[in-house]
Amino acid sequence: MIHILVVEDDENLNKTACSFLRSSGFDAVGCLSTEEAYDAMYNNLFELIISDIMMPGIDGFEFAESVRKVNKTVPILFMSARDDLPSKQKGFQLGIDDYMVKPIDFEELLLRVRALLRRANVEMERKLTIGNLTMDADAMTAIIAGEEVPITTREFNIMYKLLSYPNKTFSRAQLMDEFWGIDTDASLRAVDVYVTKLRDKFSGCDGFKIVTVRGLGYKAVI
């Protein structure tokens, strides 16, 4: 059972969010202030924290900062009425993982919560298993149906990223920015070359497919 902490001073929103999360299979604990949240966290472990920013007393930013001091990995999602870039920047700089603007669409919240949990899991274990493929980020190995496949660092990184965010489309520019050096002058076509190589190397996998999206990007479809 996954435990989620909801810190929000709007009673209505707090109650409905917790109900929604519970009906989706999570155990949700709602706190109306950061003080209450500190108490709740003292005795319980939470796999994910959802927090408002504007609250009386200690605000969401301070709360996130203090949580990060003791726990660098627990996913934190901010829910806020503030839609401005500076607020978002401040949040992400403090180490939060996602930011949603109120009014909150609960279905969207659910999608993001699930994605955050999945990522946290993958990051914690540093291993990924889909179908007959197992990838180990520490050992930099990819094993298909028990046999290890030779793979370069860059190939591994691209594949690992695509599979960590299944069904999310990455543009060529995004992949290039992340896995090629900053000063590269390579054309974006270089990404296409790598994807062809990856499709070839991972052709034996049965759990997923690498799909070209509109000729503009790639995603791993499970």
Partner: protein
């Protein structure tokens, strides 16, 4: 009232009459003196005539120069100032103030006009403030209960003891509240943009990547409607602009393209790059627009095709237009009913191009 009493009656101002009389006497006197002098010198009548004529030409020229200078000083300059001020107000700057030309006890009609002008600008400014305050306060008050409606509706949908009909009712509540939220958000956005003191956050970014990411967000709809989307966005294209505002532009244009293109249609995105600008053309094979619709497409709350009215709120294109205006960009549309529509957006590559263009 008091001011009007103090206004100078400018038909026969005594001071000017006196000065003009004296000047004329002087000019005539000099003329008479010249004639005497020339007669005494017993010059040829031809030369005398020439000298007199030259004298009068000089006097005429002097007269014209002086009156012109007076005109410029008392009418043309203040009028030009007023024209500049009016122009600034028309562009939305309500902090404009023009000082009267004369001191408080020597006001003339022009000054009264200027003071009335200042009053009008102040009034406009306060209405504008009222509007923006209204929006930022009221919108939060409206958004909160809307959020409650949509949240509880979503919770209701999760119950498993609802009949199909009941589920349908709840879905309707949900979609209506979503529409309202979108409307409020759009009104807020467009309102923020219309406040002149919004400073765009200019950054250098890859606009092709941005458009790609926007396209990915429409993936589900595109697949559902079996729309083929081709885009020539293969390489990076860096420009200087406000990324978050430009994202709104692409989202709105793509949303419209998807909305108005039928099952199995196509959407095509092309680019043309020149030295200072980038032109991006988004074409769809959708139902197109009539001449009349094309003329009004960028108006607020205008929805040309009412069959799709439920899916939008008529503010999207107005927002796009306003954003592009801020950047010194342009948008134009070409369309043919039942054939399709092409929106062409011209963007400056560098922010100082806009500044140069404005000056």
């Amino acid at each position: 009232m008091n001011q009007k009493d103090k206004i100078r009656q400018s038909h026969l101002p005594v001071r000017y009459f006196g000065i003009t009389f004296l000047v004329m006497l002087l000019v005539a006197g000099v003329h008479a003196g010249l004639i005497l002098l020339l007669t005494m010198l017993e010059l040829w009548s031809g030369v005398t005539a020439a000298i007199i004529i030259i004298y009068w030409i000089m006097m005429a020229a002097l007269f014209v120069l002086i009156t012109n200078k007076q005109m410029v000083k008392y009418y043309e300059t203040p009028m030009k100032e007023l024209a500049k001020a009016t122009n600034a107000v028309a562009k939305g700057d309500f902090s404009v103030y023009m000082p009267p030309i004369h001191t408080a006890d020597k006001l003339d009609y022009l000054d009264v006009m200027i003071m009335d002008f200042n009053k009008m600008v102040e009034e406009l400014g306060s209405i504008e403030t009222l509007k923006t305050d209204f929006f930022s306060n009221v919108s939060h008050e409206i958004k909160t209960p809307l959020a409650v409606i949509s949240n509880y509706a979503q919770l209701l949908l999760r119950q498993d003891n609802l009949t199909e009909e009941e589920k349908d009712y709840v879905k309707n509540i949900l979609s209506a509240s979503k529409k309202l939220t979108e409307l409020i958000t759009n009104i807020l956005k467009i309102n923020k943009l219309e406040k002149q003191n919004i400073n765009p956050e200019i950054v250098r970014f890859d606009v092709n990547e941005q458009i790609c990411n926007c396209i990915f967000q429409f993936e589900e709809k595109l697949t559902q409607k079996e729309i083929e989307l081709t885009a020539e966005l293969d390489e990076r294209l860096f420009i200087e602009a406000d990324a978050s505002l430009l994202e709104l532009v692409w989202n709105n244009l793509l949303s419209n393209a998807v909305k108005f293109t039928d099952q199995g249609g196509t959407i095509d995105i092309k680019e043309e790059i020149s030295e200072d600008t980038v032109t991006i053309m988004i074409s769809d094979s959708g139902c197109g627009m009539s001449e009349e619709t094309m003329q009004h497409v960028f108006d607020k709350f205008y929805q040309g095709d009412t069959s799709h009215a439920m899916e939008g709120n008529g503010l999207g294109m107005a927002l796009v237009f306003r954003i592009l205006q801020m950047f010194g960009g342009e948008i134009s549309v070409k369309s043919e009913l039942s054939c399709g529509t092409t929106f062409s957006i011209v963007l400056p590559k560098y922010y100082d191009y806009i500044k140069r263009k404005k000056s």
